[in-house]
Every structure is written in C-alpha cells, then in structure tokens.
Amino acid sequence: MNVLEFTALVAVGSFVAGLLGSLTGLGGGVVLVPLLTLFFKVDIRYAIGASLVSVIATSSGAAAAYVKEGFSNIRIGMFLEIATTIGALAGAFLAAIIPLSALAVIFGLTLLYSAFLSRKPRPKSQRHLPPDPTATKLKLNGSFPDPEEGLRSYNVQRVPAGFGLMFGAGALSGLLGIGSGAVKVLAMDQAMKIPFKVSTTTSNFMIGVTAAASAGVYLARGYIDPGLAMPVMLGVLAGSTLGTRILIQAETKWLRLIFSVVIGVLGAEMLYKGLAGRF
C-alpha cells in the first residue's frame, strides 16, 4: 500500500470512528486504536499518538456545539479536570514502562468493563435527589434544557467517588491515548448521578483538556507521526461534527445500546490479540 492509498483508507475509517465516537460520547479514540492496530496493522504506539490527537479535535469540536446548547456543566468539568489531567500525566509516563501486549490487554479490559457497566439499567427513581453538601459547596449542581420538562435541574451526588474515578479515567487516557469518555460518563452518570446527556456532553468537554495533558509527553516521545495523524485527525473531525448534529435529537436508550455493542466487540478483539501476544 502506498502513502496515498493508506491515507485515503485511514481517513475513511477515521470518519466512521469519529461518527461513532461522537454518537456514543466515547470520543473517537476508543474505536480508533483497535481500528488502526487490528485493521491497518499500525504499531500501537503510533496508533495511540494519532488517536490522542484526534480525541482533542473530536472533543473540542463537539464541545463547541454543546456548550452553546447549554447541556454541559463548565464547573463540573473544570473541577473534575484536576483529577483527569494529573491522572493523564501519570498515565503517559507509565505508558513507556508497560509492555505493548499488556497495553492491549488493559485496553481490552477497559472496553469490556465499560460495555458491561453501561448495560446495567439505571433505576428510574433517581431523578429528584436531595442536594449533597459537598456538591453544593463546590457549586456543581445545575440545570439543562430537557425537551419534555423545559429547564430541568439536578443535584450532583458522591463527589469524592466521582473524583477518584476521574483520576482513573485520566490515567487510562494517558496510558491508552483515548479520551476515556466511557469511564468519564460512568463516573458522572452512575457515581455522581448526573443526567446522561449532561454527563456525555460534559465528558466531551473534558476529554480535550485531559488528552492535552498527555499529548505533550507523547509528542516529546515521538509517538505522534504527522503522516498518520493527518488523515486520522481530519477524518475523525469530519465524522464527529456530523455525529454532534444527530446526538442532540437522538434517543438515550439507543445511544446506550450502540455504545455497549461497539465497545464490547472491540474489547474482546483487543483482549484476545493482547493475550495472544500479537502486539
């Protein structure tokens, strides 16, 4: 395959990855690294570098739209970014020490665990929760435009648990070159009881900052190849821009289904290849 053919195919694949990543709130990276390594046989370090860069584009592009729609919560994002950026820096340094097959196994397990968790149904009664003193002190409670109820307010719960999970999300992001939107959404949606749409859009908003925290380390280490990152970044950006338009109208139930099936299949594949030592 020559450079032109490779670039064109990677751009198309990245477009699809960006579309899926945006629709599910995952960021493109979680789909991209398996795509590049399993499908295009790219070394996992180059894949991680290109993915990380595209994740910043996806996140910033999508966040620009959501912030205006009033879905994302800037304070929740900023507070939790303390945990994700420090985690990301730790993860990026750790990535150089860990063997490649172990990286693939961690990747696979992350995806499978996320898929499993996202299929657990959330009890309906968790809508009108009492305010939590820590969340109130940190000014994390907010409201968002709900198509049925108008402006719907919510009270954030279990801040320390969410903060801890966010450190883990950051570390995974730095380690694997993904936005780790799955873990971020889980931390906000499941632990902190933030409404799903607010969780996904705030996650998107945070992913760019988290990824930027490890991008410097990746660049300095030579993981970011311009020839590969170019079609990946442009393809993902185009795909995610399209995905953003769909999400604002889409049904949460369907999002969750797509979300879990995609990450489950890719997780199994990464885990198998990692355990078989093919990285």
Partner: protein
C-alpha cells in the same frame, strides 16, 4: 445576584464555544495544507506504520517543528497544526482562569490554575525531561 451570576456563566460558555471552534478549524486548515504538501511529494512511497521507529527529533520538539515549518516541509506544517490543536484546550483553560476571576470565584480560579499548571508542565516541561 443569582441571575447576574448565571448570565456571566452563559456569556462565558458562548465565548468558550467560539474559542474551541476557532482553534479546531484553524488547526484543521493548517493540518490540511501540510497534508496536501506531504501527499504531493510522498504519495507514491510505501506506507510503513507497522514498525515503530519513533519520530526524529525535528518532529518532537517545539523548536524542531518550527524549523521544519520555515523550510515548508509538509510534515512540519502538519505538526504545527497539531500543536495548535493541543493548544486549543490549553487556551480554553487559560481563559477560564480569567473568567472565574471576573466572577470573583476564588475557589474556581484556584482549581483552574491547577489544571493549567499540569497542562503547561506536560507541554513545556516533559520535552526537557525526555529529550
């Protein structure tokens, strides 16, 4: 007082939205231009990404990338676009420091400064440690 607070938040959100969009579009345009030069010169070469070599030093540091840009190398221009992309969320965080200061929200100024410090360390400090 509560409504004035909400209004400032809203304005801040709008500005952040525009900042992010501008940064992404600008970096995409630079990456696209660099990509066009790169493809025009190297399209027929074989694509070899299954072997990891690590990028040469001129594509790994800020000063190295800048020299490649001045020489109008396609890959150098792509890296410049990627640097602009990385700088976009950093600029967003830097703006938030100012915006929270405008709201006299000391707690969030402190939170945002911590995040900014981590980002700047990664971008400027880590290359000194690793190269």
């Amino acid at each position: 007082m509560a409504s004035a607070h909400a209004w400032t938040d809203r304005k801040m959100e709008e500005f952040v939205g525009n900042l992010l969009r501008t940064g992404v579009l600008l970096s995409a345009a630079v990456v696209f231009a660099g990509g066009a030069i790169y493809l025009a010169r190297h399209w027929s070469q074989p694509a070899e990404y299954h072997i990891f070599r690590g990028e040469p030093s001129e594509y790994r540091s800020l000063s190295g990338i800048w020299q490649q840009v001045l020489a109008l190398r396609g890959r150098g221009i792509i890296q410049l676009g990627l640097l602009l992309l990385i700088a976009t969320p950093v600029a967003r965080v830097a703006f938030s420091v100012w915006a929270f200061a405008e709201e006299r929200d000391r707690m969030y100024v402190a939170f945002t400064l911590i995040v900014l410090g981590v980002l700047l360390y990664s971008l400027l400090g880590s290359s000194a440690v690793l190269n």
